[in-house]
Symmetry: C2
Subunit: 109 residues, 2 copies
């Protein structure tokens, strides 16, 4: 996969993580268990509908999945996309680490 293709897929993940509320939701979901909307709303200073919207953003980015059980909507974290994002940043840092190292070396020679 080319860099561009990868970036196109990764950007929405970063966008989804680029909000404090959603970052908090991801943190709460990081126990790997299922959480209902009401449960996730508790302690957050916004409406259930507000939380619902954030959860849908996370879902569209592929970061969480949802399963309807009885009257509850249970959300679960989906590890893969975040792992991809992590690897993307890891490669990016490695890339400029190398570049900057080469620059420094060429200056000092």
């Amino acid at each position: 996969m080319s860099n561009v293709t990868e970036a196109v897929g990764t950007a929405p993940v970063f966008a989804a993580l680029g909000d404090i509320t959603r970052l908090e939701l991801v943190a709460r979901l990081s126990d790997g268990k299922q959480h209902s909307i009401a449960q996730l709303t508790d302690g957050l200073d916004l409406t259930r509908q507000g939380v619902t919207k954030h959860l849908h953003v996370l879902q569209r980015a592929g970061l969480v999945s949802c399963e309807r059980v009885g009257r509850e909507s249970r959300f679960t974290i989906r590890p893969d996309p975040i792992a991809k994002a992590r690897d993307y940043l890891a490669r990016a840092s490695a890339q400029w680490d190398d570049a900057i190292e080469r620059l420094r070396a060429s200056v000092e020679e």
Copy 2:
């Protein structure tokens, strides 16, 4: 630093990376060298002003720095924040890897 404090600082970085154009700009800047706005605009399908706005977003998030040299504004990548974001994701994945592993173990016992 607490998890919340860290998230508050990291979210803007993710938000800045959550746009394909900015991701492309970061990629171009990852050679560690300085790039002018005109230079960065070349090849991107939007106006110089559009690129300028994106660069300012990156700058506000701390991802790049700008130095005025003659009539040029030269932008350089700033590795630290992205490294922080990378570490944040690395710890997050480690966290749920552990959690999921524990869940699986408790189910199988």
